[in-house]
Subunit: 231 residues, 2 copies
Amino acid sequence: MARLDRSLIAGASAFAGLSAEALDEILSRAEILRLLKGETAFRQGEKADRFFLLLHGRLRVTRVNAQGAQILVRFIAPNDLFGVAMAIGAAAYPGTATAATESLALAWPNASWAELIATYPSLAVQAMQSLGARLQDTQDRVLELSTRNVERRIAGAVLKLARQAGRKTDEGVLIDFPLSRQDLAEMTGATLHTVSRTMSAWEAKGLVACGRQRVVVRDEPGLAAIANSDE
Amino acid sequence: MARLDRSLIAGASAFAGLSAEALDEILSRAEILRLLKGETAFRQGEKADRFFLLLHGRLRVTRVNAQGAQILVRFIAPNDLFGVAMAIGAAAYPGTATAATESLALAWPNASWAELIATYPSLAVQAMQSLGARLQDTQDRVLELSTRNVERRIAGAVLKLARQAGRKTDEGVLIDFPLSRQDLAEMTGATLHTVSRTMSAWEAKGLVACGRQRVVVRDEPGLAAIANSDE
DNA sequence: CGAAGTCTTGAATCGAATCAACGGAAGTGG
DNA sequence: CCACTTCCGTTGATTCGATTCAAGACTTCG
């Protein structure tokens, strides 16, 4: 009873190079998870008993500290594996994954992880590489926070989002999911006030167009010049 | 010709649970690397053709950006695997590893990595978990940089170092390798001036004792109170 | 001994947070 | 459909933490 089509996961790099039979086998163990905007796939501190693949939509991953301050760790895009806490030896999810738009994901019980990597070793290699890429990204973020001022950090964040979730429109490159000033603030270690001021200034210069939870990049090279300027 | 004794690597968690024969086999492929203080195991951007295990000493890993600003990514302790760029799919080393004290390491050619994890799958699992732990640490660092002021960040960094490299003395817990104000500044995203001022104030309160490239924690709970204080 | 590296401390400046008030858009419920 | 609430965004004034600028002291080493 093949309820799910293998084309659903064929695009995921985690499963790259696997045969049609392997994909079917993997799919047969998955459960479908539908999330409305604002619903969570998992919450920080919760016992980690499943891992996921996003099929459609966009999730925000946040992390809070003991004092209640929050950062936005990353956005999860379709075909990303997420919530693999178990694979890295964590008993609990280290963050909270919330749907930024209505989303669709697959979920596997943790037990499947060990079985899958035993059967398909390339999965472990892929997972390690994606983890490595995230580590590099996060270290780059530390470098940015330590050495660049707020305006350059915001420019970097907006450019990154435009590249990974941009949709060309006649106005420019639209970041194709709801993105608030607060989100950008939590990504860059700034306040929403500073983000708002900065983007207003950019809008006046024609670099971006923006609205409520909406950002359009009109002049990518101009933003890149801000992001990469020395000094 | 067993020039190296297997006890050298028996303590490394990466090789936990492997048999004596396996350890000997792994050792037989390794090359010994001696580093004087200030020498590097590898440099950022260099083609990554080897991975390493630190046997003795302490290495500083730094990363610079295009503008020349630098951060201290981490200190490598004995029994840590490092320079595993290849395992995470990076062609070049993403940072520079410099000996903070005279050090001794083992080095394997990249080709050994694939062979080793094929023969000893637990090595892949261990590597993934240590990578996961580093990702968590780095995300915590982003959270700190985004939400805590400099004094709390420095307190957190000093406590972490005291826990991972502390040696009990009659004065207090000595951080057992040369650690300059500049190092702490690069770990916390501050300037060496602010670090110096902060530590002078702490010394006056009896929280720490310090000297040239030398830090002793005299009142751990007191420092922890600073690190964890709300606002 | 001179030179280079490390650390300290003061004074001035500045970037971004904080404090504060308000406008507008979207969602909710009667 | 309209009143109400809530969420999101803007903008000004003020404050403050940390950097920057500057000078000098101490340590270690060749």
